[in-house]
Each structure stands twice: as structure tokens, then as C-alpha cells.
């Protein structure tokens, strides 16, 4: 799950070649992923892992890193 999420985030949101994304990289609060683009992340999680994460849970506080995403995906 971790590798798939990181791969998707790099493909979808990262512009620079030298940016390193790990499980604790801040994605929303750092501005790497903007609020409206999160829809594609939600859809990827639904397609790939079969989990629908409610939009109000996808916030900069609770969904900011891949580690937090995995915790939430496992909860749903």
C-alpha cells in the first residue's frame, strides 16, 4: 500500500525530479497537493484499495502524510 501511494503521488503531483517522498513527507500543508487535487487521490484510493474515504476526513491535519493516509485507509 505504501509503495503504491508514494508512486501515485510522485506521478500525479510531483514536478521536480529530485523531490523525495517518504511516509512522513508533508503533502497538503506543504502545498505539494492542493485542496481540489485531493479528489484524484480519493478516487485512486477507492479504485486501488476499495476504500471510500469521506471528504471531511481528507484534511491537512489528518491526511497530510502517507503514514496518516495508511492509518485512515485501514480504519475504513
Amino acid at each position: 500500500m505504501q509503495e503504491k501511494l508514494i508512486e501515485f503521488i510522485i506521478d500525479e503531483f510531483v514536478e521536480e525530479d529530485d523531490v523525495v517522498i517518504d511516509v512522513d513527507t508533508k503533502l497538503i500543508s506543504s502545498g505539494l497537493i492542493d485542496s481540489f487535487s485531493l479528489v484524484s487521490l480519493q478516487q485512486f484510493i477507492e479504485t486501488e484499495f476499495g476504500k471510500r474515504i469521506p471528504a471531511p476526513v481528507i484534511t491537512a491535519e489528518s491526511f497530510d502524510t502517507v503514514r496518516q493516509m495508511i492509518e485512515i485507509i485501514e480504519r475504513y
Binding site: V39, Q43, V57, T59
Partner: protein, 375 residues
């Protein structure tokens, strides 16, 4: 309406009584009734409508909680939207139909009676829709009726938000967070808000007033620039007062602004302008609509324009608010298309300060032009 002596006197009185009451249930009951009483003082019909919609929503929350059927969510939301349409938009629809009828066949003017718009109905309905949806998603607990009534009618944020979520509000009621530290923080926030509103916003409004009617294009452009700052400081000041007043009661209400005019694109602007509304729009309109189709044109262009048009008309029952919303929706759509194109073509944008300043200036200019429709 909250920048008045009666409001602040009432706040002090409610804060003192709220602090000395011993049990949380009694405190919540007192907060609900005192809030409803203040709403009734401002507008009696608003208090009645608030109570009726609160009973309606709570009934469907109870049914949803007990039977776990989505039909109760749907009926509950339809009822809430029905109230919003009846009280806010029937006047607009009847007026538009009247104009159309006159235009088409020169029929005599017809109008249905404009219904009284109860104070705070827009904020109330959005709070209730989020409550039912969050309950359905198991993000929020149903809570007691009195907790929900206090959420619906909380007098510090009733008139113009922030649109707090029940899932964040309700846990704060279980413990009394009133303290001298919170009173001090709340007091400072109120003073800061009053400064923004009464000193900056009102003075700018006073100075630019004659410029609107000027024959010179540049004077009118300056007036628009002034209005851009006026509307921000006015609303941000109001939000500071609402947040500070709630803090005096020990309630931490969500932030509503975070330097929106220093943002470098429309997406970031909306993540920092009227945050409680933009997050509501994102969670309950933008995300669900995006699920309808995965076609690029739908998700990057149609959805932002539809959601922002709805956001516009929510601000007021007049078409010019919708045009303002469409303007912003178009701005977000262009930005999203640019990001999409940039990623596909692997285009790199400069990271220099000059580029950031330029993008900030473009975003600010775009937002400022949009205020033409809002005014």
C-alpha cells in the same frame, strides 16, 4: 449585528452564568436557550425557523442513527434544502419568472409574496447538512438534542459563521473549557476584529464611496481595489469577533481566514478565504460531484464552475452573486487545466521569488476584478 453593545453585554452575562453552572447538561441547556433567546431578540421568525429545522434535522439524525438507512439522510437533506429554497430563493425565482413573462408576452406582472428571510438561514442549513452527512459517514456522533440545539443556535456564530462542524463542536461541550486564559485570548481576538472592522474596513468604505461614481476609469479601479481590502478586513474582522466571543465561552471555533490575498493561485486562495465555507463546499459538493464522471472536462472544468456558481448564489438571492461564483469557478478551472497540462508536458515553472510575486499579483487582481459582481 454582533458589533453592538447589547451583544457584548449579553456575552458577558452568558459567560458568567455558563461558568458558574455546575453540570454539563445544565450548561448546554443554558447555552441553547440563551442563544435562542438572543436570536429571537434579533429576529423572532429566525428563532422559530431555527427551532423547527433543528427538530426536523435531529429527528432524521435519530432515524439514521437507529435504522442506518440512507433514505433518512436524503429526506432529511431535502427538507433542509426545501427550507433554504423557500425562505431564500422563492423571491428571486418569482422575480425572474415575472421578468420572463413580461418579456415573452407582456403579461401583467405577477409576484408571489416575498417570504421573510430568517436571519442566518444559509449558515444554519449548511451546518445541518454537514451534521447529517457526517453522521452517515460516522465522523460525528448524534449527540443529545440540547447539544445539537446549542450547535444550531450558538449566538456568537449564528449570523455569519464560521460554519463549524458538529464533530469538532460537540466534544467541547462535554468539558467546560472556560478559563481566564481563554477569556484573555478571546478578548484580544475581539479587539483585533473590531480594529479590522471599525478602523480599517469602515474607513476604507468611507473614503472610496465617492470614487464609485467618478467618471474616471482609474478612480473607479481604485475604488474596486479599496473594496477588495474593505470586504476582506470587514469579514475577517467579523470572524475574529465571532471566534473571540466563542473563545470566551470556552469554545474553540474553526478559523475562517489565513492571509488569502498572499496566495499564488486560485486553489490556494480558496483554501484560505472563508475557510469554513470553502471546506464545506469542497466536502459536500465538490467531492461528490467529482464522482459523477472521471472525464477530464467534467472534473477540471464543469465541477469547479458548478460548485462555485452554487457558492455564489448561496451568498445572496441575486444573479450577480452567481456571476461572481462562476468567475471564481472559471479561475479554478483554468488553474486546474494549467496544472494538468503542466504535468502531462512535464513543464517546470520557476521557483524564484519574482515568479511567486507575479503569480500572487495575478491571483489578487483576478479576485479583485471578481468583486465587481459581488458589490
Amino acid at each position: 449585528m454582533i458589533i453592538s453593545l447589547p451583544f457584548f453585554a449579553y456575552l458577558v452575562l452568558v459567560a458568567i452564568v455558563y461558568r458558574i453552572l455546575p453540570w454539563s447538561k445544565i450548561r448546554v441547556g443554558f447555552l441553547s436557550l440563551s442563544s435562542l433567546a438572543f436570536v429571537a431578540y434579533l429576529d423572532r421568525s429566525a428563532a422559530v425557523v431555527t427551532l423547527c429545522i433543528t427538530v426536523w434535522t435531529y429527528l432524521f439524525a435519530w432515524l439514521l442513527d437507529r435504522y442506518k438507512k440512507a433514505i433518512f439522510l436524503r429526506i432529511g437533506i431535502i427538507g433542509i434544502l426545501g427550507a433554504l429554497i423557500a425562505f431564500k430563493y422563492l423571491g428571486l425565482l418569482s422575480g425572474t419568472l415575472s421578468h420572463l413573462a413580461q418579456f415573452v408576452s407582456s403579461l401583467p406582472d405577477f409576484r408571489i409574496e416575498n417570504l421573510l428571510l430568517p436571519l442566518g438561514i444559509s449558515y444554519l442549513t449548511f451546518k445541518h447538512i454537514s451534521y447529517l452527512s457526517d453522521l452517515n459517514w460516522k465522523i460525528a456522533k448524534r449527540g443529545s438534542f440540547l447539544e445539537f440545539l446549542s450547535y444550531s443556535s450558538l449566538f456568537t456564530i449564528f449570523v455569519a459563521g464560521p460554519i463549524e462542524r458538529f464533530s469538532r463542536y460537540q466534544p467541547q461541550l462535554e468539558e467546560n473549557h472556560q478559563s481566564w486564559q481563554n477569556v484573555w485570548i478571546g478578548f484580544q481576538r475581539i479587539v483585533f476584529g473590531l480594529f479590522k472592522k471599525l478602523v480599517i474596513a469602515d474607513w476604507i468604505g468611507y473614503f472610496i464611496q465617492p470614487w464609485w461614481d467618478s467618471a474616471s476609469f482609474w478612480m473607479r479601479a481604485l475604488a474596486l481595489l479599496g473594496y477588495s481590502i474593505q470586504i476582506y478586513t470587514d469579514f475577517a474582522g467579523y470572524s475574529d469577533i465571532a471566534i473571540g466571543s466563542s473563545r470566551i465561552l470556552g469554545l474553540k471555533i474553526m478559523e475562517n481566514f489565513n492571509n488569502p490575498y498572499f496566495r499564488t493561485n486560485m486553489s490556494r486562495f480558496w483554501a484560505t478565504w472563508h475557510i469554513s465555507l470553502s471546506e464545506w463546499i469542497r466536502d459536500y459538493l465538490f467531492f461528490p460531484l467529482s464522482r459523477v464522471s472521471r472525464k477530464v472536462i467534467w472534473s477540471l472544468v464543469c465541477v469547479p464552475i458548478i460548485t462555485m456558481a452554487a457558492c455564489g448564489i448561496w451568498h445572496g438571492a441575486a444573479w450577480h452573486f452567481m456571476y461572481w461564483g462562476i468567475w471564481h469557478g472559471a479561475g479554478i478551472a483554468v488553474y486546474q487545466l494549467w496544472i494538468y497540462y503542466k504535468r502531462k508536458r512535464k513543464i517546470k515553472t520557476p521557483k524564484t521569488m519574482g515568479y511567486q510575486v507575479l503569480m500572487g499579483a495575478i491571483t489578487f487582481t483576478f479576485v479583485t476584478i471578481g468583486w465587481m459582481w459581488f458589490r
